[in-house]
């Protein structure tokens, strides 16, 4: 069953008097439970594609269907609701809220996702990523790897259909990067959540089961990898 379908998606950005074509008619279908990486050099369109898929941005042309719902033409508020309900984000710079503890960061995501406050569930999410003893620490008291684990717990606590991870290992050393990726892979297998990465890190590419390569806004390869 497909969780995501893109048909001829085009994205244009104005740049001064000119226009930049960031995506040139991308078509793609992602099945539920996939662990997929968009790979390619800088400027290839990976992040633009993730932004559109994650309902952070709208395509200029084409059709995007997320979990059976057509995304094109939705208002900003409706996009926000869809995003909060169905998409979890893991950012390159972790982007935790610095004034909240690990537990509060996860609880906030739950609440913003439209779900009732549930401290036990938030605690369990942090236990699942191996941070049982770091619940009440603030981001500045955690290592980079630990912060990214909190970010993963925050993304997964509301049980989203899709988790988008934009260069999740870019700010981590190889050991922490591998640990974080193994954790996401484990959660993917256990919970069946679909993970989409954007990366040019071989560490990521070696752990996903599908790699979509982009260049200059176009898909140049779509490879399935059996692990």
């Amino acid at each position: 069953m497909s969780i995501l379908s893109l048909q001829n998606v085009v994205k244009r950005y104005p740049m001064g008097q000119n226009e930049v074509l960031a995506l040139k008619g991308v078509s793609l279908t992602v099945e539920s439970g996939e662990l997929l990486a968009f790979a390619g050099p800088s400027g290839s369109g990976k992040t633009t594609l993730l932004n559109i898929v994650g309902c952070l941005d709208q395509a200029s042309e084409g059709e995007v269907i997320l979990d059976g719902q057509r995304v094109q033409g939705l208002s900003a508020a409706a996009l926000g609701l869809l995003r909060a309900e169905k998409v979890g984000f893991v950012f390159q710079s972790f982007n935790l809220i610095p004034v909240l503890s690990a537990l509060e960061n996860v609880e906030l995501a739950l609440r913003l996702g439209g779900q009732p406050p549930d401290r036990a569930r938030a605690e369990q999410a942090l236990v699942d990523v191996g941070l049982a003893d770091q619940l009440h620490r603030r981001p500045n008291q955690l290592s980079g790897g630990q912060q990214q684990r909190v970010a993963i717990a925050r993304a997964l606590v509301k049980a989203p259909k899709l988790v988008i991870a934009d260069e999740p290992t870019a700010n981590l050393d190889s050991v922490n990067g591998a640990a974080v990726l193994d954790l996401m892979r484990k959660l993917n297998e256990e919970r069946g959540a679909t993970f989409l990465f954007s990366t040019h890190d071989n560490l990521v590419l070696s752990r996903v089961n599908r790699v979509v390569r982009l260049r200059d806004g176009e898909i140049v390869a779509d490879e399935r990898v059996s692990r």
């Binding site: 952070l56 926000g80 995003r83 909240l100 906030l108």
Partner: protein, 410 residues
Amino acid sequence: MGDLLRMALRNAARNTRRSALTALTILLGTTLLIIGLSWLDGLLGGLIDNIAATAGEVRVIKPEYEAREELFPLYENIAEVAPVVKAIEDAGFAAHPLIRVGVTISRGEEIGEHFGLLLGADRAYYERVMDLDAHLVDGAFFTPGEESSQVLLGKTLASDLGASVGDELLFLGQTQDGSISPIKGVLVGVVDAGDALSNRQAYASLERLQYLTDIPDGAIEVAVHIGDPDRAREVAATLRESPALKPYLVQAWSERPMFAMLSDMTGLVYGVLAGSIVFITALGVLNTMLMSVLERTAEVGVLRALGMGRLSVVFLFVVEALGIGALGAVPGVALGALVAYYLELNGVEMGEKISADVSLPMSTTFHADLSVEVALVSLALGLCMAALGALLPSIRAAGIQPVDAMRSHR
């Protein structure tokens, strides 16, 4: 709501130096507000008290008198004042018939070059209302039974005339039909009545003024003293029902056009003062909050990406500013109240010149009037400064698109 509140308050403590500076701005703004507003209240309150002391909180006049009041039209008088006084006293209030007339004043027989106002009233008015017997700076108060041959002078007028206690003064006025009319009187005392207008007046008995103006049984106005300026309109309305007062105009002080205008003007100054302080302080807060929003663009983007609505973003920044605002406004009110209280107790002596050209009974010492209302208004406005200053930046923050915020962080 709880976690938003927690985030907002913790954000306020994030950059302590900047928050402290913002709180200090609000502290100064609130301090200035409470001092300024207390000062204005004191000015208006002092003026009302002086009006009450000289003309009563409520007055009764002939309706036609008001239109030409500045010319002292003696012919528009209350010819039979006794029934009017009785009606007021029956209603439970003190009534004092008054005659005020413009005169030239001189010492001895020669016609003088000094113009002034001569007030005629009963002894009780001078004692209980104007409290002149307690404000003598030279000489004595009226001798009982000899009031008709004695006068008092305000200290400014006495000084201008070069008059001393014991001098015989000649007052040249006119009767109600316009004939020249003189009276003489011996200066028995010089008073400092506390306001410049009263210090430029002369004081004689009502009978003497009735003789001078040829209004043998009447007065120009009857001052009603109730002891509470705030009740003036209510008392005026009650008195209007009295049959004896029906032919006359019964006016609360606030209904007199000049003072109504003055009250409006004070309201305007009040608004401009408060508005200016709030605006300038809010600009300081705006600057700080704008910095916060710019610094936290990516963070706001994450919150928006996680599903936070625009209103919640506005709430987050406004509550943060209100938190900082409370830190500034509360000590600001306390500090301002201390200064205002000092000014209320001691006042500032402005000298006679401050009101020399104003035909209003303005005190020569300006006192502040600190009240709970002013303190609460200042506190509320202090918080308004914070909220107002945070509003534009927070609206800007709410407009941040998650994707733009993400981009700004890369």
